[in-house]
Amino acid sequence: MRFDYHTRYAQGFALLRHPSDWLAYGSLLAALLVLPLVASTYLVGELGYVLILCIAAMGLMTLTGFTGQVSLGHASFVAIGAYAHAWLMAQGVPFAASVPLAALIAAGAGLVVGIPAIRVHGLYLAMVTLAFAIVVEQVIGHWRSVTGGYTGMVVATPRLFGWSVGSPRAFYYVCLALCVLTLVVLANLMRSGLGRAMTGVRDSEAAALALGIEVNRVKVGAFGLSAGITGLAGALMAHHIGYLTPDAFTLLLSLDLVLMVVIGGLGSLRGAILGAVLISLLPNAVSALKSLLPTAMARQSGLEIFVAGLVLALFVLFEPTGLNGRWLKLRALFETFPLYRRDTFRRQKTYMKSERNR
């Protein structure tokens, strides 16, 4: 068993509170650093993609999980980031400058979507973001001079300080560095005043307003920040895909991102990462499953989407706090081992609550 016995004030809000946390996260990072040296090129490429999705999921988590604003159109910010980055690279802007610029452009788009968010919320907001994503997809398809339209657009090989980072191994390290950077920035943000304000807006807008939080500014800011991070993921995604077409950024990607955030557990960065890992590995798991099934069933094409739906449904029904909630329960079990009580996390009986009068 472990006791939280603080002797200094700073211990109360440290990011890593125990020596064992340092050990666990340090060894995880070391493992991720060493992995490309031993794993196959294909695996490293896939892992780089998982890291990119982790960044995108953290971006959506900032908005949906921390600020409580639903977005069903985050693929549009991925698309804006990817196309902005590819276009800037084509204009001769170096990789190191183009990635932050693409993120800034996506953040600007996020601010534009954030302005309606002042007026509408809940399902109306979900529809506004969905409509925005559809509009962006069509605009990309028709704006041939910049995006290449439906025929697509080639992304230049990334070069960082004179070195080519186009190979999967080198690019993996770029993704890892940016993913860790995003994680640290967001984790620190969430324990700052601004982060607390965002949580306040999520839990009760009226109460946050009464406490002097500028709700509108926080909402628009959260949209901008979230879109910026997602745009960063988009810029990296451009290199992973290599050839951009509007088909890569459809509604299904938006729904995948929402899936990651919900399955991971709303309101935690760990959840965003766990969800991104699970959802991006799901297709591989399904194709592994297919080899076990009789060929008549394995040839059917609907199995992936069916399994994705099933996993999501089971999580919503039986573990609404997502993977993060399950993780916390497992940890509590080990930390308090002989004294664990099952009822600690038991859900109380709930009744229908109307959200109509919000």
Binding site: V70, I115, P116, R119, V120, G122, L123, Y124, A126, M127, V128, L130, A131, F132, I134, V135, Q138, V139, G141, H142, S204, E205, A206, A207, L251, L255, V258, L259, V262, L266, M297, Q300, S301, G302, L303, E304, I305, F306, V307, A308, G309, L310, L312, A313, V316, L317, P320, T350, Y351, M352, K353, S354, E355, R356, N357, R358
Partner: protein, 294 residues
Amino acid sequence: MTNALDLFAQVTVNGIAVGTIYALVAMGIVLIHKATEVLNFAHGDLLVLSAFSAWALIDLVGLPFWLVVPLVAVGIGVLAYGIDALVVRRIAGQPQFAGVMLTIALAFMIRGAVSMGFGTESQSYATPWSGRTTEVAGVAIADLSLVITGTALLIAGGLWLFFRRTRLGVAMQAASQNQLAAHLNGVRVKRLNSLVWALAGVTAAIAGMFLAPVTLVDTSLWLITLKALAAIVLGGFGSLPGAVLGGVLIGLIEQYAGVYMPDGFRDIAPYVVLIAALILRPRGILGEAHGRRV
């Protein structure tokens, strides 16, 4: 001059015909949302399922069209009842977002099951009205469109009468306004909610069976949910007349944009209008304004 006028009349009629389809789909979603506050993203996939079942029964089994319509409608109704009674009911009390996620999950599962069960190829089947047109005041209208518009209006009228004149309808209204109060007055809320799902399932089945011959029997039919949602939001959530009005408006905007605006605007015009309308009027056209609760 008369040419432009003729074109305008034709486009308007097409817009209304398309719009009533959206309205029909939108009504089913509004029904469920009003009763249970769950936004049913799986509605479009019930449509797909009904279209594929109708195709299988007509083309593969060889049943006549008029037997298939009630058969599929009842089948989808029972399925929708089961979905609510066995799955959706369990998340009562969780935030609205959980309902959205659960129905998206159900939508994925239905879509996956349909493409596993019926294959992924597009199909089509004949109806008694396929390929025939009627001319009304110089405007040609496909008979199928007329039938769809008539059916949608009939269903809208039927629902209006049902909610005003029957005991069951009034009980449903009571349950949708305050579930606890309705329960204390002896309304069996759980069963009613499942019945509302069944009712919405029947409208989805009818929409699916009549719409599929116009387009094609294909899994991409579910995309109509997006148009229907746009119609609902434009009209104002939780309002059946709003859903009909929004559906017709979306249909008209789409057709006008397709004819009078440059290429590519047809697909985005409804959504641009939607965003603009929501910024100007966040509650939709016929939506009710509510106070805020802390």
